[in-house]
């Protein structure tokens, strides 16, 4: 597609050539001066040189002077780009085509002074030009297309697109439209939306007033639509609505600058687009909370990818904001009062849990329940919900006789643990003299702290558990989820949820074998071997690295593919994948998208961003069109431990996973995988998708 665009620019041969030369100069220079390789590869530093080159090639006649000027302006564009970038990037703002506009002004305004530089007439005698480039055949195609009896609007649209490259012909317009459609359905629909909005506004306010020209439609209105509607903002119905509004706004700015710069004989080019876009992005950045019109958090240079990744991460990664907290006991307990409960969990103290042990008849005691000892929970171990320092303990308050409460010492015997600064756990109504820790002790998640008791404002034995923001006993509670737990009645795994009153809950136990297998340590490497369809051996080395932001990823040496992952004590997640969809790492990414590191055979469900899944082109393209408003395509992921043993020296553990594609509610299996784990880690994995079968084995 890049080649198609390049060919389109070469329809005006010298313009295309100048563009190419300008880019090469900018890239070589930037590279030799040691600028950021990633920015260079993405074209952030060189795209202005390209437009400048094409622009210069369009306006001036080629010659020795021209090419010298071209080289100089390419350097100038680079300098301005870098300089602007240095200021703007740290605010998360783009410079768009401002370097091009400035450089072009520098050349264009005094161009008559360059005596040896001739303004070209090729734009006037473009048929000659075309003939010299492609001969008769190109000319006949060109004339054939030009002779199409097109709808007036369609023609304006196509010509506007072509004018982005300073051209005015249908063939370039068609090429660009097709390229736009193939590369991004969202960009394409936005370009039409921008165009229609511009056209209607022009009709409404008078096309002279709206300064409606092919160039302005293409390089300003359509560009604004694309930039705001789908690039800098996650595409949504709000971004589309704003697109409709921003086009007339750009028009006002445009008319102003056109009038103003007319006095000094400067064309405005794409300055209005750049200014409006930068201003609007900066405007959005200042909001206190982003609920609608989300600024793209990680730029994937594709609105579809941005959207799908965002939708997926919004739900999936928000949980990483929480410090993992587990239930403070062993075995199955019942929530007798949840958040904002009916008895005592009110107002500032609302986000707390009360737990008791109930038997199968729902009774909390045996033989009468008249003494504390009759209660199942009384005297049972209370454990640390997470690692941390003990910052407060009370251990001396008598346990109440059943039915009485102690309102003098409301909280009874209590422990407060600081997990991280600002996150404290309080456990209350503990049994007198049962505390096994003292102030200042460091406790590990799951360590026994004390026994459940009946001290304080507690008419019968129970355990009170709350998360709070400061270390005082009885501080205001904080709405905090339990990271992972089993909901016994519903037989499912709850993740970052708040158990509700009546739920029977228990912790999960980490399986050391699974944890060791998936806790890839940074700077280690694993090697997998597989065979392709024709029986050739494929080997991939995966190196585990940590990047500058402390994110961990696996890097496939042979294919350059990268898969980001994160692993807490209970769950392994792949969070992103970049690179070859033919690499073994890609298949492993889909197979082990999310793995529960526990021996509990509950299914774990998740959603995969659909852009990372292999699927039918047509359906996914259609979905791209509607995705900002409605996704009829969904990709679910389920994993389940098939066979497991309590011992770390078990020969192997099998985990089966599958992805299911849902099209308008109709489910169809997409991939199936099976991962085998032994005491040395991941032993092998098998990936099946339709006829595609990948069986990869670890090589020691």
């Amino acid at each position: 597609m890049a080649i198609a665009v390049m060919l389109a620019t070469f329809l005006n041969f010298y313009a295309g050539l100048s563009g190419l030369v300008a880019v090469i100069i900018a890239v070589l220079l930037a590279n030799s001066l040691g600028f950021d390789k990633v920015q260079l590869r993405n074209g952030v530093l060189s795209f202005n040189a390209l437009i400048t080159g094409i622009g210069l090639g369009t306006y001036f006649d080629p010659g020795i002077v021209f090419f010298t000027l071209l080289a100089l302006s390419s350097v100038l564009t680079l300098i301005i780009s870098v300089a602007l970038g240095g200021r703007l990037f740290k605010y998360g703002l783009p410079y768009l085509s401002i370097p091009f506009v400035l450089t072009f002004w520098f050349i264009l305004l005094p161009s008559s002074l360059y005596e040896n530089l001739g303004l070209t007439q090729r734009n006037i005698f473009w048929i000659n030009e075309m003939y010299s480039v492609g001969g008769n055949s190109l000319l006949s195609i060109f004339q054939y297309i030009e002779s199409w009896e097109l709808n007036k609007l369609l023609e304006i649209y196509l010509r506007s697109l072509s004018s982005i490259f300073f051209q005015d012909n249908l063939i370039t317009g068609v090429i660009l439209a097709v390229v736009l459609l193939l590369s991004s359905r969202i960009f394409f629909s936005l370009s039409i939306l921008g165009f229609v909005s511009a056209y209607i506004f022009a009709q409404f306010s008078g096309s002279e007033a709206a300064s409606i020209t092919y160039y302005n439609i293409g390089a300003n209105f359509i560009m604004v639509a694309i930039a705001i509607g789908g690039f800098f903002v996650i595409p949504s119905r709000y971004s589309y609505l704003w697109t409709i509004l921003l086009v007339p706004l750009t028009s006002i700015v445009l008319v102003f600058f056109t009038k103003l710069f007319n006095y000094i004989q400067l064309p405005v080019f794409s300055l209005p687009y750049s200014l409006v876009t930068i201003a609007f992005v900066h405007f959005l950045q200042q909001r206190a909370n982003q609920k609608k019109l989300i600024l793209t958090p990680i730029q994937h240079y594709s609105p579809e990818t941005n959207l799908y990744a965002y939708l997926n991460n919004k739900e999936r990664l928000s949980r990483f904001l929480y410090y993992p907290v587990q239930l403070p006991f062993w075995g199955e307990w019942t929530v007798t009062q949840g958040h904002d409960g009916t008895f005592t969990h009110k107002d500032e103290w609302g986000k707390a849990f009360d737990f008791m042990i109930l038997d199968d008849e729902g009774k909390s005691y045996q033989s009468g329940g008249l003494s504390c000892e009759d209660y199942y929970c009384f005297g049972k171990p209370v454990t640390a919900p997470a690692d941390g320092f003990v910052v407060e303990t009370i251990n001396h308050i008598e346990d109440n006789p059943v039915g009485e409460v102690n309102t003098t010492h409301n909280w009874g015997n209590s422990i407060v643990i600081q997990h991280v600064p600002g996150i404290y756990a309080q456990l209350s109504h503990l049994k007198k003299d049962s505390l096994k820790v003292k102030k200042g002790d460091y406790v590990k998640s799951g360590d026994v702290l004390a026994q459940c008791g009946n001290s304080g404002r507690s008419p019968y034995p129970h355990l009170h558990f709350q998360i709070q923001n400061n270390p005082a006993v009885g501080a205001e509670t904080s709405d905090y989820p339990i990271s992972y737990y089993l909901n016994i009645k519903q037989k499912n795994l709850e993740q970052f949820a708040r158990p509700a009153e009546g739920d029977v809950v228990s912790n999960l136990r980490q399986h050391p074998l699974l944890f060791n297998a998936f806790n890839f340590l940074p700077d280690t490497s694993i090697k997998f071997c597989s065979r392709d369809e024709s029986g050739n051996e494929i080997t991939e080395h995966w190196d585990a690295y940590t990047d500058a932001f402390n994110y961990k990823y696996l890097y496939s040496r042979e294919t350059d593919a990268v898969a980001y992952y994160t692993c807490d004590n209970m769950m392994f997640y792949f969070t992103a994948f970049y690179g070859s969809r033919k690499s073994l790492l890609y298949y492993f990414f889909l197979s082990a998208y999310k793995i529960l590191l526990s021996d509990t055979p509950v299914p774990v469900k998740d959603n995969i961003p659909i852009h990372l899944l292999k699927k039918k082109k047509l359906i996914s393209s259609l979905n791209d069109f509607t995705a900002p408003f409605f996704n009829f395509l969904k990709a679910g992921y389920t994993t389940r431990v098939e066979q497991i043993n309590h011992f770390p020296d078990t020969p192997e553990i099998q985990i089966s996973t599958e992805t299911i594609l849902t099209v308008l509610g109709k489910q169809s299996p997409n991939t199936e995988s099976r991962i085998t784990i032994n005491q040395y880690g991941i032993d092998s994995f098998k990936y099946i998708s339709g006829k595609k079968v990948v069986h990869a084995k670890k090589i020691k």
């Binding site: 006991f329 062993w330 075995g331 038997d359 199968d360 929970c377 590990k444 043993n645 309590h646 020969p651």
Partner: protein, 453 residues
């Protein structure tokens, strides 16, 4: 008005003493229904005598025990003791609840496999394991609990021959302060035999030592004994880690927890004297948790409890065949089941209830079985209402050992019925028939007719 029931006359010795407000009423409450299924109906449908097992009670017992241990200790695993009751239906209830299998013979091992228990969830105990069975167990990755040196040597030899690395533990016997001391199984703790065996296993490249096992006795009435046992196992686990750097994965405390049956010779009924499972759990988990293991090294606690989980889920329903008066004037009642069916009447003073409403009058009697043997006594002395021929009785807490130790002696073994959680009844073992017995017999040709040629 219902027709008054006729009650035969009885002669009773006059007792003098203080009056009390309870009068002479005894605890002979009739038990007309088992889990809301009529006892009379069951007997009518399935014949008499009849074993009845309550699935609901089994699950309740298991969940109760599970709760008791799992809220005290983070890693607990139950293994169903097959010998206690290896009816497939019963085993499957336990497996469904998450139990592994604990077996003590090749026969039980095969039964567990056939029930679908994966090899690595079978614990192979007992002194009787053939070479063939050891190899099978090793190949299935089962846990082999070694009982004696001869077995240890055999296992070392076999694992070399067959290039296997079986997962093993040793059974340890010790003085836990109870009488009689069970020292006939396993290796002794106090005299160093256990440590010697452990050293030998650790030094055998083909054996993988994964845990320690003990089973200090049966129908244990002292939680303290378990505390001692747990402490000794912890000490060995700790020593193995200290000396050899090997972290053992589990301690298996065996079973032996009592049911609430009353042992023969006990002065007070079992329901009043037997310690609760909570007390045993406290004794065991306090010791292990307090021993100083780090969280990661805390051993898995395996329990092989049998009797305590099933005894009270089993009932035996029977019928009075006759009543008579013995020479010394005592009343004797003859039932249609005896020692052959209710083997545990050798150990327990089983509670027996009438299965239909009876009058308030009671008399002391002997309950005999139907066998033509003098020792066939169900209860030597029991106070019951005035039973008559054709009356039905219910024997309580017969779930453990009876359905594995019963005898096909003089009579055939009766039906066993399971009442499921929705109170539907299912036959889970059919009454034996003449054909069943005959099918195993082979008569030589010359003995096939009575007339000698």
């Amino acid at each position: 008005m219902n027709k008054k029931r006729y009650e035969r006359p009885t002669l009773r010795k006059m007792n003098t003493g203080l009056m009390n407000k309870f009068g002479t009423k005894t605890e002979n409450e009739p038990v007309t229904h088992i889990e809301s299924v009529s006892a009379k109906g069951l007997l009518k449908e399935y014949g008499s005598p009849l074993f009845v097992i309550s699935e609901k009670q089994i699950r309740r017992n298991f969940q109760n025990a599970s709760r008791i241990f799992k809220t005290r200790y983070p890693k607990v695993q139950f293994a169903w003791s097959y010998k206690t009751n290896y009816l497939d239906a019963v085993c499957q209830i336990f497996h469904q609840e998450g139990s592994w299998a604990e077996v003590v013979s090749g026969f039980e091992y095969d039964k567990a496999l056939r029930n679908g228990v994966p090899g690595y969830k079978i614990i192979f105990n007992g002194p009787d394991k053939t070479d063939e069975q050891l190899v099978t167990a090793a190949k299935n990755n089962s846990l082999i609990h070694i009982d004696h040196y001869d077995e240890l040597y055999a296992l070392i030899r076999l694992s070399e021959e067959h290039r296997l690395k079986p997962r093993v533990a040793i059974r340890i016997n010790m003085d836990t302060g109870i009488y009689p001391k069970w020292d006939r199984f396993g290796f002794n703790f106090e005299n160093g035999q256990a440590w010697n065996a452990l050293t030998r296993i650790i030094n055998s490249p083909n054996l993988d030592l994964v845990g320690l096992h003990c089973h200090i006795g049966t129908f244990m009435l002292s939680p303290n004994a378990y505390a001692t046992a747990a402490r000794n196992l912890c000490e060995l686990t700790w020593s193995v880690k200290e000396r050899y750097g090997k972290v053992l994965q589990y301690v298996d405390l065996g079973g032996g927890f009592p049911s609430t049956n009353t042992l023969k010779g006990a002065y007070l009924p079992g329901t009043d004297t037997v310690p609760s499972l909570d007390q045993f759990a406290d004794a065991i988990t306090d010791v292990i948790l307090g021993y100083g293991f780090s969280q990661e090294e805390l051993p898995l606690l395996i329990l092989e409890s049998g009797r305590a989980l099933i005894d009270d889920a089993g009932y035996l329903l029977g019928t009075v065949l006759a009543t008579k008066r013995l020479s010394d004037g005592r009343r004797a009642t003859i039932l249609d089941f005896g020692l052959n069916t209710l083997f545990t009447s050798l150990w327990y003073e089983h509670k027996v209830s009438p299965a239909q409403p009876m009058g308030q009058q009671t008399e002391e009697m002997i309950l005999y079985g139907p066998l033509c043997m003098n020792i066939d006594v169900v209860r030597e002395s029991i106070v019951m209402p005035l039973l008559e021929k054709g009356n039905h009785v219910v024997v309580h807490k017969v779930g453990a050992y009876n359905m594995t130790q019963w005898m096909q002696f003089i009579t055939l073994r009766p039906n066993i019925v399971l009442i499921d959680v929705e109170n539907n009844t299912h036959i889970i073992r059919k009454a034996e028939t003449m054909e069943y017995i005959d099918s195993l017999e082979v008569v030589p040709e010359h003995l096939k007719t009575i007339n000698r040629h």
